[in-house]
């Protein structure tokens, strides 16, 4: 068809060019044949170029052909053979069809255009985003390269540092070797010099012996007796043997004393251990019975207990012959008991924590309501204030307005009086509310304080309970006897029973002419024994107890020095002496 149209165009070319005013080159027509049709159509109304009187059948046939191509079955038929007129119905139908087609096409075109616009916008968007991404890419690339650069630099640095380290290490090694070689050289030289010196000394002494101008001599008026009054004895083998035996005797004595001290200490420790164990069992037994489901443990414990009883009964002999066995038993049982005690204490802690939480919960609920109440009251107060303010303003206004007119003021007076009265009432009400509010607040604070106290007392009770158990457990009352006797053990410093303090200050006052300035030591308040201290005592570390003692001594000292009453001091000291070192309870109450 294209070909045909082309030929047709060629055929009609001169006609068109000749008729139409539009000057279009034929080549253009050739190239864009689509344009030729609407052009020709628009120009149709002016001059019929397509169909003339002469070529009606041709045009009809052509149109039919075209329609057939378009897929329309209708065909235009000439009403007469000459073809001057057409049958109207099929023409109209085709016309309608064509119009429909055209309309559809137009619609499609529009849609397409829209689509294209959309596409264009998306394209644009994509392009923009693309460019942006490109930018980003570039940026990141740049960043990357920068990072690469820094990394490279760091690598370089590391390398240099490593090399530095290496050289340093080498240096160190070198220096060490130098030091070693020098040390060996030095020691060698020192030895050589020493040998020479020894030789020289030898020679010197030889020479001095040979030279007899000034002999060493002793010139005594009359010889003295020995300091012990005995006569000196001849050096014999017997004498040397006696020296040996003497030496071993002293050594033995020393070992004996140290052994005794150790035995004493050991016995003490064992005693404490026993006591502790017993006490622990005492503490643990009722609890375990109360807790159901611990029967097995109970059994085992009972067994242990019976074992312990045995061990305790036979401890005296056990210490003597089967010390190892007894110790093993004792240690094992103690360990067991200790574990139990620890668990128990942990449990207690948990319980107390839960208790605390509950308490705190109890506390928080009233606190919240308290807050609410406070808020409400504040609001009320605010409202009242606002009222008052408004009323004051009103009053002011009235006063201002009535100031001009005295008669009106007189009239208004009663109103203001009334107002005042009301105001007063309201004020009273407000005051009352305020008072109530204050009272409530006080109540709340009191309740809070009370709660705090209760909590504290609970804590104290708990601590006291624990402490009591511990203190009852320890045999400290016995301890004092040992400490007052020899008591020099490996762990405790031998100290004088009474650490005497300086009299410097007291003395200073006696110095009649000279000014001295003394600074008394600040008395340290001895703290409440903490658990760590308890543990310390349980392990029998001496420092805690001794520190207690010394603290008290110091306190006494300073106080007496300041007061300058020696008698009181001696009394106090005597009392301090009486008090056993390890009684924590008393100590606590004293300090």
């Amino acid at each position: 068809m294209g070909e045909w149209r082309a030929t047709n165009a060629y055929m009609e070319g001169p006609d068109i060019s000749s008729i139409s005013h539009v000057t279009l080159s034929p080549s253009r027509h050739n190239h864009v044949p689509g344009y030729s049709l609407p052009l020709s159509r628009s120009s149709y109304s002016v001059i019929s170029a397509f169909c003339t009187e002469d070529n009606v059948p041709q045009s009809i046939s052509y149109l039919n052909q075209e329609l057939a191509v378009l897929g329309l079955s209708m065909c235009i038929e000439a009403s007469s053979a000459e073809g001057a007129s057409l049958k109207a119905v099929p023409v109209l139908n085709t016309m309608y069809e064509l119009l429909q087609i055209n309309k559809r096409n137009m619609c499609a075109l529009e849609e397409m255009e829209k689509e294209q616009l959309k596409k264009l916008s998306t394209l644009e968007h994509i392009q923009i985003s693309n460019s942006r991404l490109k930018d980003q890419l570039e940026l990141s690339m740049r960043e990357k390269s920068g990072l690469h650069e820094t990394e490279r630099q760091l690598q370089l640095k590391i390398k240099t540092l490593q090399s530095c380290l290496k050289t340093e290490k080498e240096e160190v090694q070198k220096l060490q070797s130098i030091i070693a070689s020098r040390a060996s050289q030095y020691s060698h030289d020192a030895k050589r010099k020493e040998r020479e010196a020894a030789k020289l000394k030898e020679r010197l002494s030889q020479l001095l012996v040979d030279r007899k101008e000034r002999k060493l001599a002793i010139d005594v008026l009359n010889s003295l007796g020995r300091s012990d009054g005995k006569r000196s004895m001849w050096k014999t083998a017997k004498l040397s043997a006696s020296h040996e035996s003497e030496m071993y005797k002293t050594l033995l004595g020393d070992y004996e004393t140290s052994r005794k001290a150790l035995i004493l200490e050991n016995a003490e420790l064992k005693k404490v251990l026993q006591q502790m164990k017993k006490e622990m069992m005492h503490i643990l037994a009722p609890r375990q019975q109360s807790t159901s489901g611990a029967t097995a443990a109970d059994d085992s414990q009972e067994q242990v207990e019976s074992d312990e009883e045995k061990a305790g009964n036979t401890s005296r002999e056990a210490f003597d012959h089967s010390c190892e066995l007894a110790r093993e038993q004792l240690l094992n049982s103690i360990r067991q008991q200790w574990r139990k005690l620890r668990n128990h204490v942990e449990k207690l802690d948990q319980v107390s924590q839960v208790h605390n939480q509950m308490e705190s919960n109890k506390e928080t609920i009233p606190l919240e309501t308290h807050e609410d109440e406070m808020e409400r009251m504040r609001q009320e107060v605010q409202q009242c204030r606002e009222f008052i303010h408004a009323q004051q303003q009103l009053l002011q206004q009235q006063l201002n307005t009535s100031f001009d007119d005295e008669t009106a003021a007189l009239l208004n007076d009663c109103y203001t009086l009334e107002e005042k009265e009301r105001l007063k009432e309201e004020w009273k009400l407000f005051e009352e509310q305020k008072k109530n509010f204050e009272k409530e607040r006080k109540n709340f604070t009191e309740a809070a304080i009370r709660l705090g106290r209760e909590k504290m007392s609970f804590e104290e009770d708990r601590a006291a309970w624990l402490k009591n158990h511990f203190l009852n457990a320890t045999p400290f009352a016995n301890r004092r006897r040992y400490s007052s006797s020899d008591g020099q053990s490996a762990l405790s410093v031998r100290s004088e029973p009474e650490v005497r303090m300086s009299s410097a200050k007291a003395k200073r006052s006696k110095s009649p002419t000279y000014t001295t300035f003394s600074t008394p030591k600040p008395s340290r308040s001895s703290p409440v024994p903490s658990t760590t201290e308890l543990y310390r005592t349980l392990r029998l570390l001496p420092d805690g107890s001794c520190s207690k003692h010394s603290n008290r001594g110091r306190w006494l000292e300073t106080s007496t020095v300041e007061e300058g009453h020696p008698q009181i001091k001696s009394n106090l000291q005597a009392r301090a002496g009486e008090m056993s070192i390890f009684t924590f309870g008393e100590d606590h109450s004293v300090t």
Binding site: L208, A217, V220, S223, R226, V499, R554
Partner: protein, 449 residues
């Protein structure tokens, strides 16, 4: 507190007899013996030359005066003033002279440590001990006077000889595992001998009386080691002060370290108390000065001072030692246990103004005393836990657990306390100046009551 008048002395030669009754002082070539209670001169002896060393015998009957330059030793008797004894060491020279514990023998060390000559005053006999080592403390007598330990050096090796002082019988002779032995010291109970190496190597060895090696202790290697060693009077602890500014305490059962006391420049231990000496210039107006200058005299120009409790943390002034000098001024050089072994006083050489007192029961720092000048001498009262110290000025400083005090010595002229010594009863202190001495009496009446 009272002070006696000032007496002359020379070379700090001033000693109280062991029984505490007499005071012997040397003034040039004269030996003066006074009664301590009255300070009256009892005896006056004239020596052949200026005395360089003076010592009482253990029974307080004899006094030894050594004149090292002349190689002479003279012995005087307190009971028989006309009795005399002169020992001439001859041309071999003399560097040290001392009594043996029995007070009947004199041990003279000759020049170059060639030998030790033992002279008997009973039999006039003389015996030699060869190869004594020249070191910090090469000879030590046990506290009971039975044994003498002597460091020896033969064939470039260290040996220790233990002699029975009674008849100078050689009881034991053994080689020690030291590079260069620097000192030895008996434990107060006389059963353990502590031996330490020179400062080039940190090494402390403990030998039993019969020569068995009980233990070796080495805290670190390569840097300068032990500087001072001290036994506690109870023989329980051995304190070792070293160049790393620390004191290590060994126990007497395992000979292991119990605790380590450090001397930090900043004290922030809240359990310790820091007393700082503060100068207090007397604010005297000029006309008052003219009024008082007769009475105040000497004290006018010296500043008064007092101790103040410093709030923690405290910075102690530190002097950095020169690294290229030998015997650097760093490390713990003074270690002194109180008589009851309860306290330990230390001094770190690069913090020379401070004295540290450690509580041996709590094993912690108890007190630091910081002064305006370097501490010269630190001594414990032989009876009580009371510490006396001096810093080379005209003040005496005392510390006790109850507090501390600084006392101006009221002597005429300038009396700079350079050293001090306690009387064995702890009732008085002898203060030694450059060429003077003065007694300071502590009040004892409150104890008598």
């Amino acid at each position: 507190m009272n002070f006696s008048e000032v007496f002359k002395q020379s070379n700090h030669l001033c000693k109280v007899s062991p029984d505490g009754k007499y005071l012997a002082t040397c003034v040039q070539y004269r030996l003066v013996v006074r009664d301590l209670s009255t300070l009256q001169i009892l005896q006056l002896y004239t020596c052949l030359d200026q005395v360089s060393h003076m010592e009482w015998s253990s029974d307080s009957l004899f006094i030894l005066c050594a004149m090292y330059k002349r190689g002479l030793v003279q012995v005087w008797s307190l009971e028989q003033p006309d009795w005399h004894c002169k020992i001439d060491e001859g041309s071999i020279g003399l560097v040290s002279s001392r009594w043996s514990p029995d007070g009947r023998h004199i041990l003279n060390t000759t020049e170059f440590h060639l030998r030790i000559t033992v002279w008997s005053l009973c039999t006039k006999a003389v015996s030699y001990i060869k190869y004594p080592k020249a070191c910090q403390k090469g000879i030590d007598f046990s506290r009971d006077g039975c044994y003498m330990a002597l460091a020896e050096r033969r064939d470039c090796k260290d040996y220790v000889s233990i002699f029975v002082c009674d008849d100078w019988h050689l009881l034991r002779h053994f080689e020690t595992e030291t590079q260069d032995l620097a000192g030895l010291e008996w434990s107060p109970n006389g059963c353990v001998l502590a031996v330490w190496d020179s400062c080039l190597e940190y090494k402390v060895l403990l030998y039993s009386l019969d020569g068995r090696l009980l233990s070796t202790y080495c805290a670190y290697e390569w840097s300068l080691g032990v500087k001072s060693v001290s036994w506690s009077p109870s023989s329980q602890f051995l304190a070792i002060g070293s160049y790393d500014e620390k004191v290590r305490i060994l126990n007497n059962i395992t000979w292991k370290k119990i605790v380590q006391f450090e001397h930090p420049a900043t004290i922030d231990n809240t359990k310790a108390i820091v007393y700082k000496e503060v100068d207090r210039r007397p604010a005297v107006v000029s006309d008052e000065l003219s009024l008082h200058n007769i009475t105040m005299g000497s004290t006018l120009f010296s500043t008064q001072s007092k101790y103040e409790i410093c709030p923690l943390p405290v910075q102690i002034p530190v002097v950095k030692p020169e690294p290229d000098r030998a015997n650097p001024k760093i490390g713990v050089s003074v270690l002194a246990f109180s008589s009851d072994s309860r306290y330990l006083a230390t001094k770190n050489d690069n913090m020379a103004t401070a004295v540290w007192v450690w509580d041996m029961q709590k094993m912690s720092l108890d007190t630091v005393l910081e002064h305006t000048s370097a501490v010269r001498c630190v001594m414990w009262d032989p009876r009580r836990p009371r510490l006396a110290l001096c810093t080379g000025n005209s003040k005496l400083y005392l510390w006790s657990p109850g507090g501390c005090v600084s006392v101006q010595v009221p002597a005429e002229g300038s009396f700079q306390v350079q050293s001090l010594k306690w009387h064995c009863s702890g009732d008085s202190v002898i203060l030694l100046g450059k060429d003077q001495l003065c007694l300071c009496y502590m009040d004892t009446d409150y104890e008598e009551k």
